[in-house]
Subunit: 283 residues, 4 copies
């Protein structure tokens, strides 16, 4: 009986024959004087091959950590399915933590800020280490960056200021601009203050406003994709950025679907983002 | 500072203005001699109104419980979004447990089986009680049934044998047929045995084979929708059932998307199922 | 042989069992002092029933005529399919000509302009005549307006200034605003001048700017849907209008897909628009 | 005035900056003793570059000709849009006529049949000539075949028996199997007789039934995609073929959307097919 029933049970379970896996790793950063955790998605067949793979950096939002894309975003299921149907290229996907080890009291964000030079860490420490360790093809043509909310703003910021590093950038509901924050009554500046201040200082809108023709020419070598829900509070800035790109002669994709600032929206975004990145690998 | 930063934080959070809520309820069943838990989704505005609502029964699969559609299926987010954009009608959604209170040792399934007359419980106890309590419009024209895997088969079984009860039926990756199981070496029959046996006895394929013209005429009063992933082990039976419906002159919808037997598939199915049910309310 | 081969041939042809049909009709307008042609889509079963139907007004663009939605937009195939799968309600769809009988030399446009009080004609002559003749349910709850480009702007203009007439409005790539045109060197004003001038005078942007709270309250009784391609030159005004609606507390849907100002985009829009209108009938 | 109005008019027209073009060419076939016309889509930038391009063969159905994909299928708009957004690779697309110059009295079909060895013509004459003339990359890794109905069956037949020629095959509503036709009362065999007989003799179902392990191994080097509407009369054979492929251990994609055997369905299919082919170029 057992074998018979087992067979039935199996056919009722979620089985993908070509399943990738997610492992948790960490890196000791001298820049940050902290240990930063990250998840890595390795596609089916990774261990059995000696191949090198394209690499995607997939960034989480303000209130989440490096586990969010796995646990809330179902990124493994989505990547498995897209790779299995050849809609996406087999690739490794790196999901680093934006905050420190004690996520309530340490800084948080993808840009350099006081006491937390995360962008330096990202490009000088995380990228070379992880790409060597997980056999990434380490060139612009095989590297993409994407993320949601603060991670969408982070993706834009990275791709705007490192045009020789990423072939494409997919920003979901991006937090790409902010007013300068006000310190507290006693002038105190808490963790959130610094995060907001960093977003303000790295505004994607301001960046385009200040770009000269040489910078614009470089921006045209990256493929840009903006994706935001129609009921998302960040849609105005998203559209504003899109308009500036177009005025500057920089081609970009824009999509607006039904939705708010939530995972239901971003899971679907990821289904579009991985094929989009794949299309630009090797070009 | 706090107010300013709070405002920014809020715009980065998943806020739907028109959010429904899920409450957990239970019913003491004399038929089953057990207490059965269920979740109910109440749409935004339910408490403030005296309105009656259409009702959907949303059934879980073999290895899950009444919480699965909420916790794994994101049903609240999906229903909120569809109702907000008017793609779905405001409705209540009832998600009952298919198994007993001790889900490892008690029976499990939507049909009547030895010591577990769940179908009797469903129609005679759960439906009248829950629909009265939560202000459902208690007629066929405002009632739909849907579910995944064992719950997809349950939905079909219910709608096939209660054509005066549901206006539409949406089956996701339905487990709608099974061979008769073999007892164990000593003739023992475990929990899984009875579940499989009940599916076998209530095969949707056999039901159509045996349907006379009068039964078929009744089946034509229900709107049928079958939805199964191309890499799902249950697609053969799903297609077989579709073919039998068509041969019997019973109109049905069929969709096959990329996917396996998993939540990533069913979350998208739900996005289609709630509007489909809505289209048939009041018809 | 013939029967056998015929059977094969038939199965290779585009056959919808429930096919609606399109008929061409015309109305003599005393307002316009012209005869205006229009197409009417009648759903499958129209002739055999005595039922009344909801009605959609589907408006064409600047360079087209009343035949465009049929010949370029494939509206019959799309409506048939959506109604067959119950995604859209059986409805009649009226597609009037925006210009005069001699489309090269007569006025063109949906608003009142010098010598061409089309809006008066539309509401006082076309609507009552056609709705009576084709058994429309003549109330707001069963009437929708939609269109593309100049017809998208026309739809918005009609729904903005006749909030008691339409339950929903779906604007595709709408031409909803324009600068005031300049007359020619000798002060001459050609056909295009008057069309542009009418769009300028009926700007949807200006309308929202000038709306007081009473007007806004009425606008909230209509369901608004804006849909424009990301590479369409009209996307800036579309987004601007969306932003104004939201600021005024008027709920609206916005979608941006990949696309330009062409029929490939609008055919897909229609697939969304007819279900959207259906959702709002009878509400 | 003119410049001002012209600007407005332009923004209301369907302008894609990166527009490909379609040219009509023909080839004198010694095999067929006929001149066969074909359309070729050349992507934007083709003339200005010396690049070689991947090539897609896009086949029409029984009752159409080489112009159908352009005139009814809107293939240029679709290819332009997909290439512009990088969802598809820049490619050339060849659309040959399946019938003779006098399409009412000459043979019709993609396989060899009495007096019409089209398959020989296709591989020995059309492919080498057109690929040289239009700078195709002439290898399996950069060549795909796709088509609708009789052209869907043709695509399958070609890819099944020429596994070293195409990297992928996308069959839309494929006519992939047929019973043997009966001659007329006097034993006469008309044009349709020979077409049906050729489909019968080249049945894709029979092909898989007869495939040994070596053949299956070759079939696994092609990417297969089947796509058929749920209300299409050909869905049964499509599903049967899918089932046989899976049983034979040959991976394939299957999609079923809402639809019948018509252009509304195939236009959407093409939107999926060109990216699918692109994914497999260079692999």
């Amino acid at each position: 009986m057992k074998r018979h029933l087992l067979l039935i049970a199996l056919s009722l379970c979620a089985i993908t024959l070509q399943a990738g896996r997610i492992i948790t790793d960490s890196i000791r950063s001298t820049t940050l004087r902290a240990t930063v955790k990250y998840n890595v998605y390795l596609p089916s067949g990774f261990e059995r091959s000696q191949d090198q793979y394209p690499v995607v950096y997939l960034l989480h939002g303000l209130t989440d950590t490096y586990t969010a894309w796995d646990q809330k975003g179902c990124m493994r299921e989505i990547a498995d399915e897209l790779i299995e149907s050849h809609e996406a290229t087999p690739m490794i996907i790196i999901m680093p933590n934006a905050g420190g080890p004690d996520t309530r009291n340490t800084p948080n964000g993808y840009f350099n800020m006081q006491g937390w030079d995360y962008e330096d860490f990202f490009f000088n420490e995380l990228m070379p280490t992880a790409e060597r360790k997980y056999r990434a093809i380490s060139d612009k043509q095989h590297r993409a960056v994407m993320g949601l909310s603060m991670g969408g703003g982070g993706s834009l910021g990275y791709a705007l200021r490192h045009t020789d590093t990423f072939s494409s950038c997919y920003a979901m509901s991006p937090w790409l601009n902010s007013q300068s924050p006000q310190p507290g009554p006693g002038g105190e500046k808490n963790r959130m203050y610094y995060t907001v201040e960093a977003v303000h200082q790295h505004s994607a809108l301001t960046f385009i406003d200040n770009a000269d023709e040489h910078v614009k020419e470089n921006l045209r070598t990256v493929a840009w994709y903006l994706d935001c829900g129609d009921d998302d509070g960040l849609i105005n800035d998203t559209f504003e950025f899109y308009k500036k790109l177009r005025l500057a002669g920089i081609k970009a994709e824009l999509r607006v679907r039904n939705g708010v600032h939530n995972w239901e929206y971003w899971r679907h975004s990821l289904r579009q983002a991985l094929p989009y990145a794949s299309c630009h690998f090797g070009k």
